[in-house]
């Protein structure tokens, strides 16, 4: 298979602080006049990328993951020639289109139609190419009746759809996409993902930065994990995402201690004391994956015998939406009495049908 991208020992250095100083010609001249031979203070250096090397074959769809500030966007910017590397080499074969933002170069005063031509041209399309695809772009965006209205009158959603519609009609050999899926409503995101899926089946080479692990796992054939400017791991999306998610587990300990939780209520006669994940083979684990079977073990401590207790669990998304609310009472599990002392309760999950996300638990016993 032919090579689409070759990156060799790529490094990019930013000098912090230098941007605040020395941005005025007047001050620069004055400081030169005052002390012509003084050397400036040693700069504060940040390596956004350090010795990054990898190759991508034509037709591969590579997901790039990593924490904020890890260097993912800088990597994309270097690949799309927006910024120059401090050292190292990048070779990209074929026509590159980079989509670091939806609707780059849109001008408020221009109409939808004019902006389609402008944006298409900025993204590297030829005029007649845009003309040929105009109808399709307009349909995709669903802005037909506002085509000759200045986009300053558009809603945010319309603007977004228009921008993505143009981008979706690009026909590059290599497509570089930054987190564009993070914006927009569910319908828009689905549209984006479908378009990306179309690219993949079309044999395009795609580099794709995302924090959406489900999208990376579903779309990509390979995954790069960038950490502090270096390639930490390169492999199949499943493995890399697992290793990456592992670092989010707060501690190496598999048992989460609940005794120090602050916002407790109730009489304190019985308390949850800990919570751990146990794999189907019986070992404690720190990361669970979509589709896994595993057990959540809730430890408790009772001060005195509790008669007919009900153990309950609510799970919330990061945004506070309730995902599930269950309890032993819901399932008509009768527990006549819990003796004083420590004990635990297992919640068996046969198939975790949740997408990768961060969730919050709210536990109760009554």
């Amino acid at each position: 298979m032919s090579q689409a991208i070759a990156v060799e020992k790529l490094s990019k250095k930013f000098i912090l602080g230098a941007l605040q100083r020395d941005t005025m010609l007047r001050e620069r001249v004055i400081s030169l006049l005052r002390a012509p031979f003084r050397r400036s203070a040693p700069p504060n250096v940040l390596w956004a990328l350090r010795d990054v090397s990898f190759r991508v074959d034509a037709g591969e769809v590579v997901g790039i993951i990593g924490r904020n500030g890890a260097g993912k966007s800088t990597l994309l910017k270097v690949l799309s020639k927006i910024t120059h590397p401090t050292s190292g080499k990048v070779r990209v074969n074929g026509r590159v289109a980079s989509l670091l933002e939806v609707g780059t170069g849109f001008h408020e005063e221009l109409t939808g139609r004019e902006n389609i031509y402008l944006n298409g041209s900025i993204l590297g399309m030829k005029h007649n190419e845009v003309a040929a695809k105009l109808d399709s772009i307009v349909n995709f965006a669903g802005v037909a009746q506002f085509l000759d209205t200045p986009i300053k009158r558009y809603s945010t959603g319309m603007r977004l759809r228009l921008g993505f519609a143009v981008a979706a009609h690009l026909d590059p050999d290599v497509l570089v996409v930054d987190e564009v899926l993070a914006v927009g409503d569910a319908g828009f995101q689905r549209k984006c993902l479908n378009a990306m899926e179309g690219l993949r089946t079309g044999g395009r080479t795609v580099l794709f930065v995302s924090h959406n692990m489900a999208a990376v796992e579903n779309l990509c054939t390979r995954c790069l994990w960038i950490d502090s400017g270096e390639v930490r791991m390169d492999g199949s999306p499943r493995e890399v995402i697992e290793a990456y998610m592992n670092t989010f587990a707060n501690s190496r300990e598999t048992m989460a201690d609940l005794r120090s939780v602050k916002n407790r209520r109730g009489s304190g006669e019985i308390r949850y004391t800990g919570m751990e994940y146990i794999s189907s083979s019986g070992e404690p684990i720190t990361v669970v994956r979509s589709g896994d079977a595993f057990t959540i073990r809730f430890h408790y401590h009772a001060e005195k015998p509790i008669v007919f207790p009900s153990f309950g669990l609510r799970m919330y998304t990061e945004m506070g939406a309730l995902v599930t609310d269950t309890s032993t009472w819901h399932h008509a599990i009768e527990i006549p009495v819990v003796p004083p002392g420590d004990g635990y309760l297992d919640l068996q999950i046969d198939f975790l049908n949740l997408l990768p996300t961060r969730s919050y638990f709210s536990l109760w016993i009554s």
């Binding site: 927006i82 980079s98 670091l100 780059t104 170069g105 221009l110 031509y117 900025i122």
Partner: protein, 261 residues
């Protein structure tokens, strides 16, 4: 300048056209008087100059009616000075593009230079009408006028590249720009003819390429005066040198634009 840089520029010529088209569209879209601004500005300046310099100060004008004399220089000068003001800020005002998409950065000052041609054309039509009103019949040197104007376009592009790049690095350049344009107006024979200057100072004019190009433009259209070939030659040569310097400085600094703009 090397060939790859120029080839890249050529490959993106369609985007150049679109960026210029955008500038023109946006400029005329919400302007109540539309294209007439392109006429009003040099016309009003001409009237003021005629009253104060031609009338009160009795500045000579090589035997040409003063309104025609000053307007003939003001049309290209208005183009040149407007471009300098806009192009100097062209990189800063398009920071969003620079940080999100690749294209030859020189397209931005170039697009400004190109979009100004629309205003110039409108002004040129008025100039032709004025020449007819004053019964000026230009001879064959008329054919040289477009060449002198082309020289001014190249000069505008060269200086713009330099100023735009400098402006990314040093933000106070934009405050110095209007001042620079104003001084340049007075050291260029627009209000006065070259012959108005003492003979001792006259050779210094050659260092201002705009002087030779404007004098050439005016002489070729109004044709009352012998062409000063030495001055024209030096002006063209300096323009070409400035083009190389402007492009070289731009090329040297453009790698960092996306990081500091």
């Amino acid at each position: 300048m090397n060939s790859e840089w120029i080839a890249d520029f050529w490959r993106y010529r369609e985007l150049l056209y679109f960026l210029a088209w955008r500038d023109v569209k946006v400029r005329y879209k919400q302007a109540a008087l539309g294209a007439s601004w392109a006429v009003i500005q040099p016309l009003l300046t001409m009237i003021i100059f005629t009253l104060f310099f031609g009338g009160l100060a009795r500045v000579p004008s090589d035997g040409i009616p003063y309104p025609l004399f000053s307007f003939c220089a003001l049309v290209p000068w208005t183009y040149f000075s407007t471009i300098l003001g806009h192009a100097g800020n062209s990189l800063i005002s398009n920071a969003q593009l620079i940080t999100k998409v690749y294209f030859p950065r020189a397209l931005l000052p170039a697009a400004t230079v190109l979009s100004g041609l629309v205003d110039f054309s409108v002004g040129a039509v008025v100039l032709v009408l004025m020449m007819m009103y004053y019964h000026v019949k230009p001879g064959w040197p008329l054919l040289l006028a477009p060449l002198f104007f082309a020289g001014m376009v190249v000069l505008a592009f060269s200086v713009s590249m330099f100023l735009a790049a400098l402006n990314v690095r040093y933000r106070d350049v934009k405050y110095a720009l209007p001042f620079l344009v104003q001084i340049w107006l007075f050291v260029t024979p627009i209000i006065y003819p070259v012959t108005f200057l003492p003979a001792k100072i006259r050779p210094l004019l050659a260092f201002n390429p705009m002087a030779g190009l404007l004098e050439g433009f005016r002489s070729s259209l109004l044709g009352r005066k012998q062409m000063d070939w030495r001055l024209e030659g030096i002006s063209v040569a300096i323009t070409l040198v400035l083009l190389v310097i402007g492009a070289a400085y731009f090329r040297k600094t453009e790698k960092t634009f996306a990081d500091i703009v």
